[in-house]
């Protein structure tokens, strides 16, 4: 589609600015002034609205398609949370206000909300305290590992390694390294859960902790989880729960009760803040008693007079991990969602998330290889190895689904399953939608037998066919204007089609 820059017409305007009402026309000294203006497009408001409306129509989304993207939890985003987040008392609140002297009194509502959300998350997860600061899941991971490091430093422990199972999210090992640790990977055993013998061997006194997802990325709840926690605690290691997603365990298991010391939550997964095409997220982090004093500052505290204040006086704190108090706009949505669902609603969320996933798994296991045939939790992992023998790989199935107006599952993850297809329907999808999906997946299998050629060159009904990713990486073009200080680059002057 035409780029907005290519729609630019000299002197066209898209916004009306107020006329200056002050009797001043100031001048920036020449040496400090830019020489040429930024080449923003010159377009009308209608040009902009039409351009972005058209662009939006080239996306799949939860609002428009079934979107069973495993591990990403594409559940419906209730609209009332948008309404509360937009309340001017929240949206127009300047973050520096509570940092003015006695400034907390101007932001009591916001602080009360943060305090209330902390209480709720503690009760949901069984953790002692939470920080709302981390701005996304991976940011929460880093915060958690930094606290683990602070704990060991304070105790004088000489620690070197973080244990990570081979099914872990890629962010886990990346985080451990950035926080200054080395990682040890533990393989998955034949039952789809961690090999305990291998774990035993890896558990040296130099182990700082372990990062774990439970249920894991195969969708399996490891019944040995408290045993594992005990083993790690025995070498004074700490347990990190990659709780990106609580959808399977709400009201049925709390990480704090089974031995976890740190947990991060992605609010866009369990608590349905919108995914936004890839962020913004929010990644609150909860800790057990052992780590409370290392939590980032500031922390919201309720005084005996009922006033909420920001407390910075924690000498052992790891310090600031973000500029302010977290991605507040998203925390408002998560808080409102939890209030609306309440205890029973949260339990029902898990009930139906797990029911829907098992229903898909049971309905499709005759047609697709099921690497670990056991009850799954909120998501299931199937494999396209049979179809692959006929030349139809997981990626081909994904493209077929796209052409049928369904967003594909996560493919090729977890890395431990060949031709993996990770399906997470979420609790908000109905049996009827899921039945349509099952029917479609059965059809995919049939076509892979009868006419595998049909998968060639898919998708065909989308605005584009498969892009040339090799060209994208070799002939790197990430900026319409090409070189920074010149005009549009030669390649863009000629290549204009829509």
């Amino acid at each position: 589609m035409t780029l907005i820059f290519e729609k630019s017409i000299k002197d066209r305007r898209g916004v009306s600015l107020p006329q200056s009402d002050v009797p001043v026309k100031a001048i920036v000294p020449t040496a400090l002034r830019r020489k040429t203006t930024a080449q923003f497009p010159e377009v009308s408001e209608l040009d902009v609205v039409r351009h972005f409306t058209k662009l939006s129509q080239k996306n799949f989304s939860v609002d428009t398609q079934f979107y069973p993207l495993g591990s990403c939890t594409m559940k419906y985003n209730p609209r009332f949370t948008e309404k509360v987040a937009a309340l001017s008392g929240f949206a127009e609140l300047h973050p520096l206000l509570p940092q003015l002297r006695h400034g907390e009194r101007f932001t009591q509502g916001a602080l009360e909300l943060l305090y209330g959300l902390e209480q709720l998350l503690c009760e949901i997860t069984g953790m002692k305290n939470f920080t709302m600061q981390p701005l996304a899941g991976a940011h929460g991971e880093l915060t958690g590992i930094m606290m683990i490091a602070a704990y060991h430093k304070a105790k004088g422990n000489k620690k070197k390694y973080i244990i990570v199972p081979d099914t872990a999210h890629g962010t886990n090992p990346a985080t451990a390294i950035i926080a200054g640790y080395e990682t040890v990977s533990i393989p998955t055993g034949p039952q789809g859960v961690m090999d305990l013998e291998r774990l035993k061997k890896a558990l040296t006194p130099e182990v700082a902790g372990m990062m774990l997802t439970c249920p894991d990325t195969l969708g399996i709840f490891n019944s040995d989880i408290d045993k594992i926690a005990q083993m790690v605690h025995d070498v004074d290691g700490l347990m990190y729960y990659d709780g990106a997603n609580l959808n399977a365990i709400l009201g049925r298991c709390r990480p704090g009760d089974i031995g976890f010391d740190v947990i991060h939550l992605n609010t866009h997964k369990t608590f349905t803040t919108p995914h936004g095409g890839g962020g913004p997220g929010a990644g609150p982090v909860g800790v057990s008693e052992k780590l409370v004093k290392y939590l980032p500052i500031s922390r919201v505290v309720k005084n005996s007079d009922g006033q909420f204040v920001l407390n910075y006086a924690y000498p052992d704190s790891i310090g600031y991990v973000a500029s302010f108090y977290g991605n507040f706009g998203l925390l408002v949505r998560a808080y409102a969602y939890i209030l609306l669902l309440g205890k029973e609603g949260l339990i029902e969320t898990s009930n139906h998330a797990v029911l829907n996933a098992n229903y898909i798994m049971q309905s499709l296991k005759k047609f697709y290889h099921l690497p670990y045939p056991r009850t799954c939790m909120h998501e299931c992992v199937l494999s396209a190895v049979h179809q692959a023998q006929r030349g139809v790989h997981a990626i081909d199935i994904a493209k077929y689904l796209i052409d049928q107006d369904v967003h594909p599952p996560t493919v090729y993850f977890p890395l431990t399953v060949k031709e993996a297809m990770m399906i997470e329907p979420t609790e908000t999808e109905s049996k009827q939608t899921i039945d349509e999906f099952i029917k479609l997946m059965i059809e995919v299998n049939r076509v892979s037998i009868e006419n595998p050629e049909q998968f060639k060159d898919l998708p065909r009904r989308m605005p584009i066919s498969r892009p040339d990713e090799v060209k994208a990486a070799r002939d790197l073009n990430t900026n319409f204007f090409g070189r920074a200080l010149d005009g549009p680059s030669a390649q863009n002057k000629t290549a204009v089609h829509s």
Binding site: M1, S56, N59, T183, K343
Partner: protein, 448 residues
């Protein structure tokens, strides 16, 4: 019943039959009795109406609206209605990371346009598709510089946001990074101290323009000095100011970062915001975060994909350039729409308007007895004043009159208790500025 669940009792029964279990509870058998919650004492659910009322009550407890003269890196700019209207489209806000390019061209093309807009704004060659916020973007830029030249000494100008400086320190407390902080003299980055601190171990010099006190600068000479010893320069910028000010690209800066909140994002009590990072092209493979690139599809049509993914955590795992998994797409989209609406001349006019109003406010405050306005260096839309009394106390009194008068420096800078940083955007009318000055005059008079 949870209103977002569609399955009826009949549906549930049919599904359980297919699965071959008697009840939903049976599906949770892997969670053993001793692993069950010790408590789950949450309140009962409420209706949508009731929750909205609850939240309205909380929102009203916040002191708003205030006439804002507080900035500190986060500004009260007007957001055109079309921005909110467009980003509310479900196809944008309920989509995920564009892993499947064929059904994500909307998000991908937007991010390409965002990157391009950021590049022309800063006059840098490559930008990524956004990072969490300005502070974390600065941390990522610092780590990027360390990866590029393999050194570990960081020189940080005292004019860089003290909040960002605190973040950088907590992130690196376990890493072998040496920080050298140089003072601010007469409002600007102190050349002497920075030149003295520069050596062959220096990975990067971190600067900010306008700096925390509002002073504007041309850092070209510092860029040259840094490059002469093989160090890089990172500069944090305020996007709106680039309508007028010399760009990081013109100064020869290696990595530019910043907070994009001013580009159409509400203040939101601290987030979500928009971190951006742009650099010289030679460093693109050391850049963190997502990058969208242009390519062609099977029929030769232009299209967009996530590119250079081999840098990222989902492929590199422990060898990734960063642990970042996502960007802030929806915030980047907001900024892009805002920049498009503003347009080429709109950005210049907006910057000029901010500058003029700030100059007017500066002149008004200067007339107040006892108030000293720092004029040692030029400023953009934020400036520092010295009050005859403790600035924190003055600001507190002013809030009760409906004005967030400024940010007291004493919170982050020793010996600056009487200093206050005042920000003025296009939203402040002449009348508001006049009333602000009158009230401040009155408050100061009552102090003594």
């Amino acid at each position: 019943m949870n209103p977002y669940i569609a399955n009826t009792e009949a549906d549930v029964k049919a599904m359980l039959d297919t699965i071959g279990v008697a009840s939903i509870e049976d599906l949770f058998a892997d969670i053993k009795p001793h692993q069950r919650p010790r408590s789950f004492a949450l309140p009962s659910g409420k209706s949508e109406f009731e929750v909205i009322e609850d939240l309205k009550r909380l929102a009203e407890k916040n002191r708003s609206p205030l006439t804002l003269f507080v900035g500190g890196g986060y500004y009260d700019h007007y957001i055109p209605a079309a921005v909110d209207s467009l980003i509310s489209r479900g196809e944008f806000f309920t989509a995920y990371t564009p892993y499947q390019p064929e059904c994500s061209q909307g998000t991908l093309q937007s991010l390409y346009e965002f990157q391009s807009s950021l590049c022309t704004l800063t006059q840098m060659e490559v930008a990524n598709a956004s990072l969490y916020d300005g502070g974390t973007a600065m941390y990522e830029a610092m780590m990027m510089a360390i990866r590029i030249n393999g050194r570990n000494r960081i020189i940080m100008d005292g004019g860089v946001s003290p909040i960002y400086r605190k973040i950088l320190k907590s992130y690196t407390s376990n890493l072998a990074i040496e920080f050298v902080e140089t003072p601010v003299v007469h409002g600007q980055a102190d050349r002497g101290h920075i030149r003295k601190a520069l050596n062959k171990e220096t990975a990067a010099v971190i600067l900010q323009n306008p700096n925390f006190f509002g002073a504007i600068d041309d850092h070209s000479d510092l860029v040259q000095a840094a490059h002469s010893v093989g160090a890089l320069v990172i500069e944090s910028v305020y996007p709106i100011s680039l309508g007028l000010l010399k760009t990081p690209g013109e100064m020869g800066v290696d990595i530019t970062v910043g907070e994009g909140q001013s580009l159409g994002l509400p203040l939101n009590f601290g987030g979500p915001y928009l971190g951006f990072l742009a650099a010289k092209k030679e460093f693109v493979r050391k850049m963190p975060g997502r990058i969208v690139g242009q390519t062609v599809d099977g029929l030769g049509r232009r299209c967009f994909v996530n590119t250079l993914q081999a840098r990222e955590q989902h492929i590199r795992r422990e060898k990734a350039t960063s642990n970042i998994c996502t960007n802030v797409s929806l915030c980047a989209l907001r900024a892009l729409i805002y920049m498009c609406l503003l347009g080429r001349q709109g950005l210049v006019d907006l910057a000029q308007l901010n500058l003029d109003k700030a100059e007017y406010a500066r002149a008004c405050l200067e007339k107040i007895p006892g108030v000293e306005v720092k004029r040692s260096s030029p400023t953009f839309n934020e400036f520092t004043v010295c009050l005859p009394h403790d600035a924190s106390a003055v600001v507190e009194t002013m809030i009760d009159r409906g004005f967030a008068a400024g940010f007291p420096c004493g919170r982050y800078y020793q010996g600056m208790d009487n200093y206050m940083i005042v920000a003025v955007t296009e939203k402040r009318t002449k009348q508001e500025i006049d009333q602000f000055a009158e009230n401040l005059k009155d408050v100061l008079a009552r102090f003594s």
